[in-house]
């Protein structure tokens, strides 16, 4: 559970997560945006289906893997959020696009 500062001068960004509309700020990583929006799990593991969220926020833990605009296995903490981005949770072993 996280909250944003009262004042944030950065531009508003609108994106979706699993289809649901969310707001973020320009300069947020997708991971930061998801955490700030109260998302509890951004993926489930391929081994046991356990829920995971970002753990290290620096690109080494790979727990923040999400699907960004149809491309899977993206580290959410390394992807800057953009207006209109469609982010989806990565469930288990990902399907490869045809």
């Amino acid at each position: 559970m996280f909250r944003r500062p009262r004042e944030d001068a950065r531009a508003l960004v609108r994106f979706t997560f699993d289809g649901a509309p969310l707001e973020a700020r320009e300069g947020d990583s997708v991971a930061a945006a998801l955490l700030a929006a109260g998302v509890t799990a951004c993926r489930t593991t391929p081994v046991s289906g356990a829920p995971r969220t970002p753990y290290c926020m620096m690109g080494v833990c790979f727990d923040c893997l999400v699907v960004v605009d149809g491309v899977g296995n993206r580290q959410a903490c390394l992807v800057p959020v953009r207006d209109g981005m469609a982010v989806e949770s990565q469930r288990g072993k990902r399907e490869l696009g045809a």
Partner: protein, 372 residues
């Protein structure tokens, strides 16, 4: 000084297999391994259990070896991860398919029916995700893949349970035959045995040279890579005619991609280095065959050190220059499936002087000008 009936040089699959079969035949065996068991090619290869596409000389051995693979748990108390998922070699055009038909026919005339040619539709039953341009292929239904490190370790443990002694970190450097016995010298001790087996992989050429029968073997680093887990879409092991490829998806969803591309190997330091431009070749081939693979992520690439013979087939059989010495090396990137049977052949040669399988094409004599 440690003594045994047989001293085996090399703790890879062929060394461990020879040791196991020799122990089963009642011999006392010592295995000398310069690093640790399965450290090199044996532990890191693609694990193909394959009769498909073999050199004709290897076919009888390979067919016999599969019978052992089918009873592998009985043999070594471990299933070794062997999956009989089939092996498919894809033909990308009619010319490839035609050469497959001709080969299959040649094999059939010699009594081998394991390679079945299939057309467009049946190819897609085996490989639903294969690219549209592929016209057919050849399949060996009962081939498959296993886990190389685990397999080699299983052979080792079974051999140990039968009394074989393994010495790791022991680099055999000099060999002397005197008084009807072999003396093998290493910096950490000397070992004596009635018989010597050279199963030293990429380092076996040096031993052959010391025994007076040099061979033109090249030590090579063969590269492989593996992806992150993806949802299952390929069951059999896949190859393709005309371009080297070895492609296998495991139960956990990861995909191993390899195929004959060389990195660089340093025999003195065990170090291998990868060549990405060449690895790219394998990536292109795999993506050409399975377009959806383009989005899969490679998480690791590596290379094992292997011994390659110029004619692509191994050296198996007695030494031509020394008494009571035998060779089993130079498997040229396709020795894994032969592991179980070659050990049995070596045990037969050492204990009875003969084997029922045709090994003449593998004689070391073929590299000695004017030899018998």
């Amino acid at each position: 000084m440690a003594t045994a009936d047989v001293v085996v040089i090399g703790g890879g699959l062929h060394g461990c297999s020879a040791a196991l079969h020799l122990a089963r035949a009642g011999a006392s065996v010592v295995v000398l391994e310069k690093d640790h068991v399965a450290r090199h090619a044996s532990g890191v290869n693609a694990g193909g259990v394959r009769r498909l596409g073999r050199d004709f000389a290897e076919v009888p051995l390979s067919v016999a070896s599969l019978e052992l693979w089918n009873r592998i748990e009985e043999l070594v108390d471990d299933p070794c991860g062997f999956e009989r998922v089939g092996q498919v070699k894809v033909a990308e055009d009619e010319a490839a398919l035609q050469s497959m038909r001709e080969r299959s026919e040649t094999l059939r005339r010699s009594g081998f029916t394991h390679e079945e040619v299939i057309g467009r539709d049946e190819l897609r039953e085996w490989l639903p995700a294969v690219a549209p341009h592929c016209v057919g292929g050849v399949v060996c239904r009962d081939d498959g893949a296993a886990l190389p490190f685990r397999t080699t370790l299983a052979f080792r443990r079974k051999a140990e349970s039968l009394g074989v002694r393994f010495h790791e970190g022991i680099c055999a450097q000099a060999f002397e035959r005197s008084g009807g016995a072999w003396r093998v010298w290493s910096p950490h001790g000397t070992f004596e045995g009635g018989a010597l087996v050279n199963a030293a992989g990429a380092w076996a050429g040096e031993i052959a040279r010391q025994l007076g029968e040099p061979v033109p073997m090249a030590a090579t680093a063969l590269m492989l890579m593996i992806t992150a887990p993806v949802a299952p879409f390929v069951k059999p092991v896949v190859g393709v005619q005309g371009r080297p490829l070895s492609f296998k998806q495991y139960a956990n969803g990861t995909i191993m991609i390899g195929g004959g591309q060389r990195g660089r190997a340093d025999l003195a330091t065990n170090r291998t280095s990868l060549d990405y431009a060449r690895l790219a070749f394998n990536a292109r081939t795999a993506a050409d065959l399975f377009p959806r693979l383009r989005h899969a992520q490679i998480v690791r690439a590596w290379a094992g050190i292997e011994g390659m013979m110029p004619d692509g087939i191994p050296v198996i059989g007695p030494s031509c220059t020394q008494e009571r010495a035998w060779h089993a090396f130079g498997f040229s990137a396709h020795g894994f499936q032969l592991g179980p049977i070659v050990g049995s052949i070596i045990a037969d040669l050492v204990t009875r002087g003969a084997t029922g399988l045709p090994i003449t094409p593998f004689s070391i004599a073929r590299f000695t000008p004017g030899a018998a």
